[in-house]
């Protein structure tokens, strides 16, 4: 019979809440948001590097699904924080696609290419035009999943 030990652990950060010192939650959130905004230029530059790397990976070897997945993951994170919602969703779809393909030991160069094209279009597109593109990606993903 295995032994199970249960105990109560109080994290140190528990004692850091509701102190008279410090800042209100609203102030903390405003400062955090300001810091994200302060990184806008660097983050969008990193986003473009990740997009370029994803394109190169997809062109050079559509079977390099780990590389595509990693680059698409970076795009999800950076696009979403800076209001590029459509781009973030397309990148999430590429993560899904790469994950589905590698789980099944498959490749699908056409589906990868469609996603990369969508990322390129959505980088500078208004989110209003994103809906039909995202619908198209959804249809591609559904076909790949079978």
């Amino acid at each position: 019979m295995s032994v199970v030990i249960r105990r109560v652990v109080t994290p140190r950060i528990a004692a850091m809440i509701n102190r008279a010192s410090g800042v209100t939650e609203a102030e903390a959130l405003a400062r955090a948001s300001a810091r994200i905004e302060g990184l806008r230029a660097e983050s969008l530059a990193a986003l473009d590097v990740a997009l370029e790397a994803a394109e190169q990976a997809g062109r050079a070897d559509p079977a390099d699904l780990d590389g595509l997945y990693d680059r698409a993951s970076e795009v999800v994170e950076l696009a979403g924080l800076y209001g590029l919602t459509g781009l973030g969703r397309a990148a999430y779809s590429l993560c899904d696609l790469a994950d589905t393909l590698r789980a099944g030991g498959r490749t699908n160069a056409a589906a990868v290419a469609v996603h990369l094209e969508a990322l390129r279009l959505l980088r500078h597109a208004d989110d209003a035009v994103a809906a039909p593109i995202l619908d198209g990606l959804k249809a591609v993903a559904a076909r790949v999943r079978g």
């Binding site: 295995s2 032994v3 199970v4 030990i5 249960r6 105990r7 109560v8 652990v9 994290p11 140190r12 950060i13 528990a14 850091m16 809440i17 509701n18 102190r19 008279a20 010192s21 410090g22 800042v23 209100t24 939650e25 609203a26 903390a28 959130l29 400062r31 955090a32 948001s33 300001a34 810091r35 994200i36 302060g38 990184l39 660097e42 983050s43 990193a46 986003l47 990740a50 997945y69 990693d70 698409a72 993951s73 970076e74 999800v76 994170e77 950076l78 696009a79 979403g80 924080l81 973030g88 990148a91 999430y92 993560c95 899904d96 994950d99």
Partner: protein, 176 residues
Amino acid sequence: MVVRRVDFEQAKALVVCSSQAGRDLMAQVLFGLGFGTVARCDSAGTAQAHCAAHLVDLVLCDGELPGTDGYDLIAWLRRSRLEPNSVAPVIMLSAHTPPSKVGKARDCGANFVVAKPVAPGVLLDRILWIAKEARPYITCKAYVGPERRFAEHGPASGERRQDRLAVAGLNEEAAA
């Protein structure tokens, strides 16, 4: 309405993420929330060395790391006996959150999974939740970490996809 104050000036956080942009963003969010110290590591190996040498009060860890991934890193931390670091709150971050990954995060001993992009409000909600939750800490042969079956499933506000998945996973486990 109660206005809570937070004072994380003495808190030491660790961000583990392979992408520099991701590390910088998470570190800046934590500094903005008031954390006094934020260490940044780009791999499981450097994070292990950091945990062995420095106090850590909160870990933000990306699930996808080169080599040893974030889930294995947290499983290692939980079994490391490096107290108090081994019982420190852990929030797993993931840009892609299929149910399989939420399950991996739960089983490695993380407290929460948060989907990227991580909005400051969502992160602060999770930190406050972890600080006040009374979830027992379990040590047994198969698992070390916060109890995986718990009655309350997290902050009411800002519920997102990964939370619903996490709850679904926990309910499945409870029913098993």
